[in-house]
Amino acid sequence: MPSLAWRVRRRLAPVAEVVRPTVASVVETLVAESEGPADPEILDRASHTMLGRIQAMPRYIGLPMMAATLAFDASGVAFGRRPFRFLPPEARARVLEAWRNAPVGVFRTFVEFYEKMGTFVYFSEKDEAAEATAGREG
């Protein structure tokens, strides 16, 4: 009989799809900060990969991360009367900055996770050359 964890993961697949546009918009905003406008095709692949990452996390971290992503999206309403993913670039940057400097640690951790993982995933998808390279330490 499949484990509970396996069954939970299967049930959560549709929920993950709901989160994906927000994941894509957060990555897009971060890439805009560091490189300029994101390539839509790469962004699409990166958002799938990011979601895969979140789903692969231990569930006691992955589920709160999904919930935080939804909360982050909703917090856009306070800044521009629309969820984050529908905001224009300047308003998105403001939301991100507010979370980055929030007094509450988990908000900062959320942004840090996307800064690291989101940009890594995006640049990896973009940079095919990266696949032929090493980056190891012992």
Binding site: M1, E115, A130
Partner: protein
């Protein structure tokens, strides 16, 4: 439910499990080797690519130990375990490390002297070699900076095989390149994609293992394996988890030890980062075992990952990313954490309370690294704490403070130990001096969880030698 029978069951095929399965099969035992991850081999994905982290890393590399500073713990999950994703650096333990363990945990007959024959076998079987060809850019920087400061640095040997003729790049000697094929040739049966959920216990022994076999693209199927003797080699996080899920309790999982690690990115005037060169091998060893300074070849995505949050500053520098390289500090953690099982989810809940001493060591190691990098010509170093401007002079290292602050920098670990320590101190040693469990008469543990404390050096060599020693003892005495 499908049932398999064998003489010896080995759970986990990392360096500990592969050594165990290989030596037992070659000694004529009927062995089954169960491995949760897939059987892929080294070439299934480019090193450190997204594909590799998906295929071979547990939780995609995103497992954390909770505490005021969260520590990302990285483990392999594939046939060969951590050896398939590691840098293959081979470092033998210092005398003082093994002496300290022996004294504190009352371990019998463990010293560099007693390990010598096993060390020779490891060096032969995994072709421990020195680098052929020139040092990579980051290693050259580290070496030059250390020389200028009068600190000892050295080229670390690797588990690496070069072609007999010519100067080819050679090949890392992971378990799928070495001991796993040998085990299979000697008749060991390998079941990959098979996760042991729990052991069925009775009469002071383990009777069978209940597992879920999930062939790629197919639904999971429950299986059971019956055995006479059992070796649990799931690694320092998973081994205590399997045992705790089976109903065993403390001290299993109580002594989680690690080498916490922080990375930083430095910029130089000239290109130093050629990711095609391969694994950087230089380490500053002057401060071992407490701290190690090292370097890492890094492709653009990895640099960007460690530069996350630099915004505009990053944009300016991306054009010249080959003038940047990634360096790390790694220290011996001085505190202990724990691994527990989250009921129903069957996942580990790990805690590691990075203490003041650990945070002080990390800060001091970072300050030393920064000093070294500026001495070696760094133009700019990205601050390891979020929200701080880049460092431009040696003096800027003072902004690090005496201890790294909680929650301001990414701490991770790739070296875990100690959750089932070996030794004769029955109050805290889960296994005896040769890996036999106190709680279960027919069960041994033979992975990094029995190393009772940090090694202060890259641990795989120590583990490989200790695992051989324990199998030899088993074959001679059981």
């Amino acid at each position: 439910m499908q049932t398999h029978d064998c003489d010896v069951l080995v759970i986990g095929s990392g360096p500990g499990g592969a050594t165990t399965a290989c030596l037992l099969a070659e000694a004529g035992r009927d062995v089954i080797l169960l491995e949760e991850g897939a059987h892929l081999g080294l070439d299934s994905a480019p090193p450190y690519s997204i594909a590799e982290t998906t295929q071979k890393y547990r939780n995609g590399g995103l497992t954390v130990a909770l505490g005021r500073t969260m520590v990302t713990c990285i483990e392999g999950r594939c046939v060969g375990g951590g050896s398939e994703i590691n840098a293959a650096l081979c470092h033998w333990p210092m005398d003082q490390t093994l002496e300290g363990w022996s004294e504190r945990f009352r371990i019998r007959d463990l010293s560099n002297r007693s390990l010598e024959p096993f060390r020779a076998e490891v060096e032969r079987d995994l072709t421990v070699s020195s680098l052929r060809g020139p040092l990579d850019g980051a290693s050259t920087i580290l070496k030059a900076g250390a020389e200028a400061l009068g600190w000892r640095s050295e080229e670390v040997q690797r588990f690496w095989q070069y072609p007999d003729s010519g100067d080819g790049p050679g090949q890392r000697q992971s378990m799928t390149e070495t001991l796993v094929p040998r085990a299979l040739a000697a008749g060991c049966r390998l079941l990959p994609d098979t996760r042991v959920i729990r052991l069925v216990l009775g009469g002071g022994e383990a009777r069978e293992a209940r597992a879920i076999h999930t062939p790629p693209g197919e639904p999971p199927e429950a299986i059971r394996v019956r055995f006479r003797h059992l070796f649990v080699c799931g690694g320092p996080i998973q081994t205590p988890l399997i045992l705790r899920r089976s109903g065993l309790q403390d001290p299993i999982g109580q002594n989680l030890r690690m080498h916490p690690m922080i990375r930083l990115v430095a910029c130089f005037d000239d290109p130093i980062n050629d990711p095609t060169v391969g694994v950087p091998v230089q380490q500053v060893v002057a401060f071992k075992p407490e701290m190690t300074l090292g370097c890492s070849q890094a492709a653009l995505p990895h640099l960007v990952m460690w530069l996350g949050g630099q915004g505009e500053a990053l944009r300016e520098r991306l054009a010249n990313w080959q003038t940047m390289a990634l360096f790390y500090v790694l220290v011996e953690g001085t505190t202990s954490g724990s691994v527990q099982n989250l009921p129903l989810l069957n996942e580990p809940l790990m805690r590691y309370p990075l203490n003041d001493t650990d945070r002080g060591r990390l800060s001091l190691a970072l300050q030393r690294l920064i000093r070294l990098l500026f001495t070696a010509g760094a133009r700019e170093i990205f601050h390891p704490y979020a929200g701080h401007p880049p460092l431009r002079r040696k003096l800027d290292a003072n902004t690090l403070g005496d201890r790294i602050p909680h929650g301001k920098t990414a701490v991770s670990t790739i070296h875990l130990f100690g959750t089932c320590p070996m030794g004769e101190d029955a109050s805290r040693c889960v296994v005896d001096s040769w890996g036999r469990m106190r709680a279960l008469g027919n069960t041994w543990i033979n992975d990094a969880s029995i190393l009772p404390d940090t090694t202060g050096v890259n641990p795989q060599a120590t583990l490989l030698a200790v695992a051989r020693r324990n199998v030899r003892h088993y074959l001679e005495t059981v």
